[in-house]
């Protein structure tokens, strides 16, 4: 897994749904950069103008609820965000995030300890989030071993490619 990721926190509330992350009207593209222009447009069309490359989303409960649209993690990645920290994630979004290479950390109520504008240093491998602004460190849930295997193959595309090659071999 990757080296620590440093970025500024953008906080969001509970139940941020996939229509908020990327409204259906924009689902006529599969390009992350195009989708990224409309990231969070269903919540606030101006949101994306306040986000810069490397920023980190910190959300409440059930982040990504709703549709199975993989365009949601792609839009977040397209907006330059590589990490989402949340109290909890919706099931399909959680799986999609890892498949697309978006790092997701589920931290429960500890998310409340992070404020908008805090600078965070996230170490997904160690399962720690260091808040450089407040000096607090949050321990997060480890990535399940099976999902680590998928991440080690570079996501699900790499995992399936590997299986196909083994079959052929």
């Amino acid at each position: 897994m990757s080296a620590p990721i440093r970025g500024t926190a953008h906080t969001l509330g509970d139940h941020i749904d996939t229509d908020a992350i990327i409204p259906a009207t924009y689902l006529v593209s599969t390009d992350p950069m195009e989708l990224g222009k409309y990231c969070m447009a269903g919540m606030d069309p101006d949101w994306v103008n306040h986000v810069k490359e490397g920023d980190i989303i910190v959300a409440g409960e059930n982040f990504g609820c709703g549709s199975s649209r993989e365009h949601a993690p792609l839009a977040i990645l397209g907006a330059g965000v590589k990490v989402v920290i949340a109290k909890s994630f919706a099931r399909i979004f959680y799986r999609n995030g890892f498949n697309m290479g978006l790092t997701l950390l589920e931290v429960g109520d500890a998310a409340d300890e992070i404020n908008a504008g805090d600078v965070l240093s996230v170490d997904p491998a160690a399962g720690t989030i260091t808040n450089e602004t407040t000096g607090k460190t949050i321990e997060c849930m480890p990535v399940p071993p099976f999902m680590q295997e998928i991440l080690n193959k570079g996501g699900l595309v790499g995992y399936v490619r590997d299986r196909l090659e083994n079959r052929a071999g």
Partner: protein, 419 residues
């Protein structure tokens, strides 16, 4: 070991791993599904995986139902790409024109899903097929692409919540009200990472279509699947829908559930979910005086023939309010034909409704019923997130077909008895 229906279905498909709650298991899939929004990404991932063929040409379904008939050039191009992929791969179950319907109404009707199956779909409402006793769940495009290539995927076996529904249903109260009641009680994250297994006398009395309405919205409580035992009714449905030889399946007596919920529906009035979450559930009487601009009766939740019959019963001999656009979308060509043959369209047209082709369009703010700024709709669809049906400053209320039809007449949200 006494097993939940969830464990039983996954165990029967396991190629590695043990199908017990909490463990990760690799399973064969009986069908992998995608639509015109999710298939383009699945095709992209499929190619990136280096695959050259699908695992089984008969076990992949591609249904172009969201932005179709194509709303613009971009959606036409997406569909064109999927159509070319389907031809190249020899996919048997590709649907686009006059044979196309809303996927989760269409596939059960065609007999492509049935009891005991494991189905994965790049659409969150794939859970609808749980009504037939199938383990069916929504995933992303890349996950479904993997299943299209390998014929397998992995699942974390979810813990199950048993929901027993008993009591007497009042007139105009149906399947939609039951599932809204549950979501109102447990919340939109109440079944997150869990399976919902429904039983009880009220569920036994429901039609298979009604069970589909309920299973459809399991995802609205965060559920992975919404399951019903396959009983005599299920087998009758299957026999009538191109699925002969289906077998009964149910949870073992005494299976262990994480949580048990008992709901008594005696005395319950029709339910309405108010903006902007499906958990904001109220009795219809609490919504009195809420004026509306649009009604949508259709979608994978409530676009089946019994839904249209219920709407027609309410609309018969009445007129839609001058201030309301009432849009009726039968979910499949077969339902469309049946509604026409039964004379339901005359009722709808006489009342002043618009009858459209099968499409998911308005449910997700795609096309054919978009809301403008400040407009309010009551719909038989499944989500009322902010901006779901159009403008960010519009509102969607969710209800069953009877309340939606009655509200079209009144111009405000009302109980059908109040007309």
């Amino acid at each position: 070991m006494r097993r939940t229906l969830t464990e039983k279905l996954l165990a029967a498909h396991a190629v590695s791993g043990e199908a017990k709650t909490g463990s990760i298991v690799q399973c064969r899939v009986d069908l992998a599904l995608a639509n015109d929004i999710t298939a383009p990404l699945a095709v992209k991932s499929f190619r990136a995986m280096g695959a050259t063929q699908v695992f089984d040409k008969n076990k992949v379904a591609l249904v172009m139902d969201h932005f179709t008939p194509n709303r613009d050039i971009a959606s036409a191009e997406q569909v064109r790409g999927v159509r070319e992929f389907a031809r190249e791969m020899g996919v048997v179950h590709y649907y686009e024109g006059g044979d196309c319907g809303v996927e989760h109404a269409l596939l059960p009707e065609l007999g492509l899903v049935g009891p005991g199956d494991v189905v994965v779909g790049a659409d969150s409402h794939t859970c609808t097929y749980g009504a037939l006793g199938a383990f069916a769940t929504g995933m992303g495009s890349t996950d479904v692409a993997g299943a299209m290539v390998l014929g397998e995927t992995w699942f974390k076996v979810p813990g199950a919540i048993r929901v027993t529904i008993k009591g007497e249903l009042a007139p105009w109260v149906g399947a939609k009200d039951l599932i809204l009641r549950l979501i109102g009680e447990i919340g939109v994250a109440g079944a997150r990472y869990r399976a919902l297994e429904f039983d009880g006398p009220v569920v036994d009395d429901l039609s298979v279509e009604g069970r589909m309405t309920m299973a459809n919205m399991a995802i609205e409580a965060g559920g992975k699947v919404g399951l019903f035992a396959a009983d005599d009714k299920t087998l009758e449905y299957c026999a009538a829908h191109n699925r002969p030889g289906a077998e009964k399946i149910a949870a073992d007596e005494g299976a262990e559930y994480e949580r048990e919920i008992i709901i008594d529906v005696t005395g319950m009035t029709p339910r309405v979910a108010v903006p902007h979450l499906p958990e904001n559930v109220k009795g219809v009487e609490e919504c009195k005086g809420t004026t509306i601009d649009q009604v949508v009766i259709g979608s994978c939740t409530n676009g089946r023939i019994e839904d249209l019959r219920e709407a027609a019963t309410v609309l018969g001999g009445r007129k839609v309010s001058k201030n309301v656009r009432a849009i009726i979308l039968p979910a499949t060509p077969k339902i469309w034909q049946q509604a026409m043959d039964e004379g339901l369209f005359s009722v709808f047209m006489d009342a002043g409704c618009v009858v459209g082709p099968p499409t998911c369009g308005p449910c997700l703010g795609g096309h054919m019923g978009i809301l403008g700024k400040g407009e309010r709709a009551i719909a038989t669809t499944n989500r009322n997130f902010k901006g779901r049906m159009g403008h960010l400053e519009s509102e969607v209320y969710l209800a069953g077909p009877a309340v939606a039809a009655a509200s079209a007449v009144a111009g405000e949200i009302v109980h059908p008895d109040a007309l």
